[in-house]
């Protein structure tokens, strides 16, 4: 089952997990904006660092590090393209400034990945579904979302069973070139798709039997309520955004080189 381990969701409680997903989303957007309006290294380092406490508070350090490692490849590409273009633009010489620029662009990307991964690592799918519902997105979409998440482990298990069954009949999954490998998976995919269609019919039957669509004014067992933590997060978000815009407009941000040069 190791392949599918990553698809399972877990319920964790922490101050960050309990925050209202809507506010968390606004926070992510604010970080997004702040990261876009700066192209200097110093503020981007600050943005990167101020998010670390969130990770620690949520207790998702290991998962977070794993997702950051996933971003390394893209980050490397961003660094190289920026570096090469500024290298060519500067007349084939390496300047400290061009290196700093390339690093800044890479860090901007990393800050975006960081904030999104914090959001998705600390928001449980049912919380997210609830948030979708209470932002007046049509219920059909929210239902499709939570049901999809609900059936991920079920389908993963079914895929495993089909794989075992086909292997027991002599199907070889490994070996061969890239195209051959893809073709190997067809005998797994077809039963999986057919099974899912049949399952969806049964689901529809069960939904109908539980008065699906009986009234336009659906009620909900849960309500999202704002707690103290949510108000603190709003304050932090507004603070970050205001500081960022103020700094952008009224300060000349020194580059790291100049700063180090003036100090020593």
């Amino acid at each position: 089952m190791s392949v599918f381990e990553g698809l399972r969701f877990r319920r964790v409680y922490s101050p960050i997990h309990n925050l209202d997903p809507r506010i968390k989303f606004v926070y992510v957007c604010a970080i997004f904006v702040a990261a876009i309006i700066f192209w200097e290294l110093l503020p981007l380092i600050t943005l990167f660092l101020i998010q670390i406490p969130f990770v620690l508070l949520a207790g998702v350090k290991r998962e977070w590090l794993r997702s950051m490692r996933g971003a390394v490849f893209l980050a490397a590409i961003i660094f190289l393209t920026n570096f090469i273009f500024s290298f060519i633009g500067a007349g084939y010489i390496v300047t400290a400034k061009s290196v700093e620029n390339a690093v800044a662009m890479t860090l901007r990307f990393i800050v975006l990945v960081e904030s999104f991964s914090i959001f998705f690592l600390t928001t449980s799918p049912d919380h997210l579904g609830l948030a979708l519902e209470q932002t007046h997105i049509p219920y059909e979409f929210c239902f499709a979302f939570t049901t999809a998440v609900r059936f991920v482990p079920v389908l993963a298990e079914e895929a495993q069973t089909i794989m075992d069954a086909q292997k027991a009949r002599g199907l070889e999954l490994e070996g061969g070139n890239f195209l051959k490998r893809i073709r190997n998976y067809i005998p797994i995919l077809i039963p999986l798709i057919v099974g899912s269609i049949r399952r969806s019919l049964e689901l529809a039957e069960a939904m109908e039997s539980r008065a699906w669509g009986a009234t336009k004014n659906r009620t909900n067992l849960y309500v999202l309520k704002m707690h103290r933590g949510d108000f603190i997060l709003i304050a932090i978000t507004v603070g970050i955004l205001a500081t960022a815009i103020y700094t952008r407009l009224f300060f000349a941000i020194p580059s790291l080189n100049e700063l180090l040069g003036s100090l020593f």
Partner: protein, 282 residues
Amino acid sequence: MAIIETKNLTYTYPGGAKPSVRDVSVKIEKGEFVLVTGPSGCGKTTLCRCFNGLIPHFYQGELKGEVTAAGLKVAEQPICELAKHVGLVFQNPENQLFALSVEKDVAFGLENLGVPREEMRKRVDWALKLTGIYDLRERAPHELSGGQQQRAAIASVLAMQPEVIVLDEPTSFLDPLGAKKIFEVIYELNRKLGITTVLVEHRLDLTAKYVDHIIIMEDGKVVLDGEPREILSSKEARLIGVGIPKATRLYQILQKDRVKLGNAVPLSSDEMSALLRGVLKA
């Protein structure tokens, strides 16, 4: 007045060559515990689908005759209206749970009906406690065993407080112990709350003792309909291939060998041992 009644019901699925249910006329009284059994493919499931309007509304196809449930003509009412009166529990527990927690699933029907939150909370807790899964209310469905999932499915139907619960082979995905527990839950609901219960089941050994009324179907038709002791000791039931309870079968064999144990036909091993004890004492 019967709570569910069919009159000359004949139904063919779209594209079906022959009717799946033929000329069925049955009456189910209020508060009864009814068992529907018969060989696979005899039309039991089809009959269940007629009770809450999945047939004809969901499946279409050709319906003749008449079905009334809780005083409503099934052919004229939408499924969501019928769902308030007739709850249906399906075979595979996994495919009846859609939400990410048990509690949310039990609330699903009530949310659809637009029940206010406080009322919903009360009914959800009530249903969870009755089915004995209150402690599991925050778990995700895939974290539960098959038996617990099926109990969650029963709770979610129960929360809607229907007058009739129809259970279509609710234990075919469960192990014997899980099945036994489910039957006990169902029986208690029937006795305590007086909910009319229609159970489709092959395992008569475990269920026959609970039942007031048995309907046996074969090839789309109702062949036997009546009091359990009478029907299960009849020759026809045995020939159709219904799983007669072992105690009943033993009684029959002894009777054939002219060993008379008394007039009451036993339906379970408890009743059998009581009979034997009585004879041995005498």
